[in-house]
């Protein structure tokens, strides 16, 4: 083969190999680090994996925020109107965190279906309902509606 052609072929082969490795790595890392969002009812229904980083969110139930008296341990309940999810967290809650407002917690689910959060987010702007929460909640609601004829009973 002509040396220049061979050199060019080597380059092309190198680029193809490197690009495939990079693409495979990116796909793998995205799979590893992408955390999925689940609504409380999905978690109660056992759809969320245990011991894997996930995010969950909903409205913080009024009166459910319980601060420990001697540490920064805090627990609260988020709801999507169908099911409740207990969340525990240790640390400072964001400025916009409040009862009756939407919040998203990121962390791992333990075997008792309590979310051990490593991060709690409330939105920076005045949106009280992050789109993920709103979407997932309405999806969860529609699903439930198909199974139960009178879902509004559960809400009132």
């Amino acid at each position: 083969m002509h040396p220049i052609r061979r050199q060019r072929l080597q380059w092309v082969a190198l680029i193809v190999v490197a690009a495939s490795i990079a693409a495979a790595l990116m796909a793998y890392m995205l799979g590893q680090n992408a955390s999925y969002f689940y609504a409380p009812s999905q978690i109660v229904a056992g759809e969320a994996p245990i011991g894997v980083n996930i995010r969950a969110g909903g409205m913080v139930v009024e009166g459910s925020v319980d601060r420990s008296m001697d540490s920064l341990e805090v627990s609260f309940i988020v709801t999507d109107g169908l099911e409740n999810l207990q969340v525990t967290y240790s640390g400072i809650l964001p400025d916009l965190f409040a009862e009756g407002e939407a919040a998203i917690a990121a962390g791992k689910l333990d075997s008792k279906q309590i979310l051990q959060a490593t991060q709690v987010l409330a939105k920076h702007d005045e949106n009280y309902m992050p789109p993920e929460v709103a979407d997932t909640i309405s999806e969860a609601y529609q699903r439930k509606q198909q199974h139960q004829p009178e879902p509004q009973e559960a809400l009132q």
Binding site: M29, Q32, N33, S35, Y36, R55, G91, I92, D125
Partner: protein
Amino acid sequence: MIAEFGHAALIIALCLALVQAVVPMLGSFVGQRSWMRLGYSLAVGQFLFVAVSFACLAAAFLADDFTLKYVAQNSNTELPSYYKISAVWGAHEGSLLLWALILAGWSAAVALFSRALPLPMGGRVLSVLGAISVGFGLFLLFTSNPFARLLPVALLQGADLNPLLQDFGLIVHPPILYMGYVGFAVPFAFAIAALIGGQFDAAWARWSRPWINLAWMFLTLGITLGSWWAYYELGWGGWWFWDPVENASLMPWLVGTALMHSIAATEKRGVFRSWTLLLAIFAFSLSLLGTFLVRSGVLTSVHAFAADPQRGVFILIFLAIVIGGSLMLFALRGPAMQKVLAYSGWSRELMLLTNNVLLVSAMTMILVGTLYPLIADVLELGKISVGPPYFNFFFVPLVIGLLVAVGIAVTTRWRKTEGRLLLQKGALPLVISLLCALVAPLFLGADRSFSSYSAGAALSVFLALWVLATITSDLKDKIGTDLTRVAKFSRSYLGMQLAHTGLAVCVLGVGLSVAYDESRELRMQPGDSAQIASYQFQFVGIDRIPGPNFIAHRAEVRVLQQDRLVTSLFPEKRNYNAGGQVMTEAAIDPSLARDLYVSLGEPLGGNTWAISLQVKPFVRCIWLGGLMIALGGLLAAMDRRYRRQTRVVSAAKGTAL
């Protein structure tokens, strides 16, 4: 009345931009020199009218003209007047007007300082810039008019500026960042003009280089300021979050950096021509994409302050025309790729290629990570967010590769460099930096022992010293025994060395602050104290104090080291009067070697508060490094070479006339 004036000025500016986009371009095809020359005065005129329009909006803010919807939504009589000015660009409409102003400013600068450009080239460059101005002008007037009235009026008090944005950082950060974003429109326009005219030679590269350097300098400064702002204003002590908005600014920076390096090869050696053109298109495309991601709210993000799908559709169409059109032009008229690679073995070309591959890979992985949640959502794979570990996994090795390459590249020459020479020059810096890196963590760690040895710290010390040592050795070789040679160094050489030094400082700051950061979140009541690293933090007490438009809880925290008072810090929790928003205001005691960072969490009843205490070693080096990088870019842009060339060309023109 003043608003109508501003509105009218904006419409006139749009009309001027329209003429600027069409006439010089047409002139360049039919050979009408006067048409092409028209672009110069139009660019300046357009800038003046946009400036008038901007001044009118600022005046409306200062006069508390709440009949304007935009003013009413983003200002308040209680707001201090310097924040009223910065509130002009505090939300969507005004920040777009700022965009338009800066774009017109860059166009005017090209018109004023690039008079030496050959006429068809200059006219086309200004035409392309005018076309971009038309796009933004239409967007402003039809979807985001800041001069829209609010009628009927029954409003005495505005809604107030988002308290997060009531800060010095907001006064300076967006304008500088936009200077960078929009600045890439100039090399973009040069690239398009080159594609239209079929001229991709060294002269073309030399004309666009100073503009690339300037835009890049502003973007560097903007990103640095943004990181610093997030650090002290968001109140949890982080300086980079891999947030979509941050990524949107980092991507054009990475491509811009690649562009600066590849155009050097294009100018000096005539290689990478199509690649350089593509990078110039990409740098501006990514700036636009950044605007799109932020403005349309396609990606939810902490920073996205105005979100409206209608605007998103407009921007996307604009994006499709600008990027799609320029890539089409590139595909049809781009220069054929070089058949033979005119370099072999170790050479500066190879190192610049390495630089480009690493930077573009970094950009690609950030782009994929940023857009993946959106793509997953469209494909209904679920609601996903991609965490920092993904970005760090790729970014850290790429940066390590980059720094190693910087050290090697300093010694390489164009075309071919003997491997032996590289070894000879590189050996000493390598040994020095390796030794220092191995030993340094012993002295930097908390208890100065092996138990606190940090490999991350060792690695970052090694990388930083490797770069610094190779730069020093290169300077030493160039200076030799005659110190007066320093004066003969070109500014672009000094700029390069300064920027690379800044990179080393920045990496050192990142590595050490990550390795030795110590932070605790505690429940504290007055009288409590806590030990963080070698510092003792005492919570003294808490007061309520009124501010201009808020009421704050202010805590006093004393910091002692070996029973000696270091400083007293006063973190605040502010409740803003309008809107009732709450803001955390961290208190920081800065120094080069370490920052002490205290912020208030929430009240836990009585005088008990959740408090976050942090000691962050060398965190300031991150921004110091950023400043040095930016300064390096500025220095390189001021190289005499670019001005001399202007003079030569105008002299030539003078004799021709």
